[in-house]
Symmetry: C2
């Protein structure tokens, strides 16, 4: 059954992150590189993984190896079918798919999740399910709303170790394309975060009105010299993140609300501020939720072995 | 006072359009080129205009020449200050700025409009005010909501020859950046308009939910083979146009609503469909509203001369 350690891999589109995780869930060592799945040719996955974590394997010869993220997509090592929500954590573990990695042994790929909203429109995640498992490992059972901000932010409702449903918001990608490719970017200079401008964007959203209209104010406030060029990016960020938070909270009937936030150091305070506007105090789970989730899935697997 | 003809120019960022307009407002002749203001160097404006409409001038030596659009911006021939709303048509005419074009005589540049919403956020238009003047020339006095779809759609409330207020929606630009630069474009093939897919996008908006979330369905419906690649662009168009129409109608308290639509042949039927979902029958003013508005502004100028 091993020594309680887990070798966990969060293998996304553009990043490779590996964790050596101890029996108590703490991260003992970590590796990170640019070898996301887009930078790995078909057939190269075992070699890349062995090069990255081979030394851990020698010290922990029986530690389970679990990998989540786009490595389980059609463009990855092996396509792992989505599991439909509601999906229990044990089911997610059971639906992992084993691939052989000759120098290391068996690697289990975690499935992504799919769900449908009331109108029957599908939604998907791959990688975030593992962060959610890790976050719940930290928050305990009960009902929680989990927020995972990013290019495609995920909002998931979890009850007693079951992911009931979730929804994706394209906030991060919309921010990037508007800044880099629309007229809004022309007046912007990129000079870091401006807290007052972010708050002004969030306040504009709280005042109501259509996002399609509000976005244009990121141009006119610049044209009228009412926001300096270096503040416009933060203002746009405030518009978009506040819209996401407002709309996502409006869509949940869960009360009282326990909200967990799984974000890096850049986004966590922005989402915490936007949630605070609605009187919601989010618990910050931090970025290592994936490591914790990989370790929890390994324990589920060992428990059912 | 001339023979009643007007030489009107709609001189935008990327297009130059000139109209010879008769006493009754009909377009007698037209010229169009790629010499938008971005393709005209400072100092070249008189020469470009004279080359385009010099022959009309010889036949109509005293016809007023009026130009609207970005030609009156800082990057154009001469910057014409915005007129603040509410702005009457006579005031717009009075606030035109004369520039000299030696081979032709005086050219009057039409000012753009500015307004502020209840939260004090500014909005601007340049060129659309002239289309609105032309549309009202067609619709008659009274209260009207005018829709001018495009890269930056404008919705304007007009009462008795006064533009009371307006709002910009970034619908067209958002559509373009999402199709050309986001993950949504990756599954799309561009095969013309798919009416059923447009309607499905509009129906998704009618069902409620956040636009930031709904946009992602333009990916997942493709991923799940529930919309073919060639339908995804029309679906995205339905999502965005229906959101604009829904939000803009929600923001107006004007009832009963007389809605005029100033759009080209590509967008007019899409907006008419989206408006029809809300029980609003829009009158289609057609694309020559700018010519009609330029002629009306010339008449205002002559009347006050």
């Amino acid at each position: 059954m091993g020594d309680g350690a887990t070798i966990g891999v969060d293998w996304g589109t553009s990043r490779f992150r590996a964790y050596l995780i101890g029996r108590d869930g703490s991260v003992l060592d970590r590796r990170e590189s640019e070898r996301g799945i887009l930078a790995v040719a078909p057939g190269e996955f075992p070699g890349v993984l062995a090069a990255a974590v081979g030394d851990w394997r020698r010290i922990h010869p029986t530690a389970p190896i679990v990998a989540c993220g786009m490595v389980g997509s059609r463009q990855g090592w092996r396509e792992v079918p989505y599991v439909a929500c509601p999906a229990g954590f044990a089911e997610i573990a059971r639906r992992t798919v084993a691939v052989e990695c000759p120098p290391l042994g068996t690697v289990r790929l975690v499935p992504g999740l799919a769900c449908r909203d009331d109108a029957g429109i599908p939604d998907v995640m791959r990688g975030e399910e593992t962060q959610i498992v890790g976050a719940i490992d930290a928050l305990g059972s009960g009902s929680h709303l989990l927020v995972l901000p990013g290019t495609h932010s995920k909002w998931a409702t979890v009850r007693d170790q079951t992911i009931v449903s979730f929804a994706t918001f394209m906030t991060g990608e919309l921010f990037a394309v508007l800044r880099d490719h629309s007229i809004l970017g022309r007046l912007m200079s990129r000079d870091g975060f401006d807290e007052a401008a972010f708050a002004r964007g969030a306040a504009a959203v709280a005042g109501g009105g259509s996002l399609l209209h509000l976005l244009f104010s990121a141009r006119t406030l610049g044209l009228f010299d009412e926001l300096p060029a270096e503040a416009l990016e933060s203002y746009l960020s405030g518009l978009l993140i506040a819209t996401e938070v407002k709309d996502a909270l409006a869509a949940t009937s869960e009360r009282p609300l326990s909200v967990g936030l799984v974000a890096g150091a850049a986004l966590a305070p922005l989402y915490a501020r936007a949630l605070d506007r609605h009187g919601v105090a989010a618990r910050d789970i931090g970025e290592d939720a994936a490591a914790r989730g990989l370790s929890a899935i390994a324990r589920h697997l060992e428990g059912s072995a």
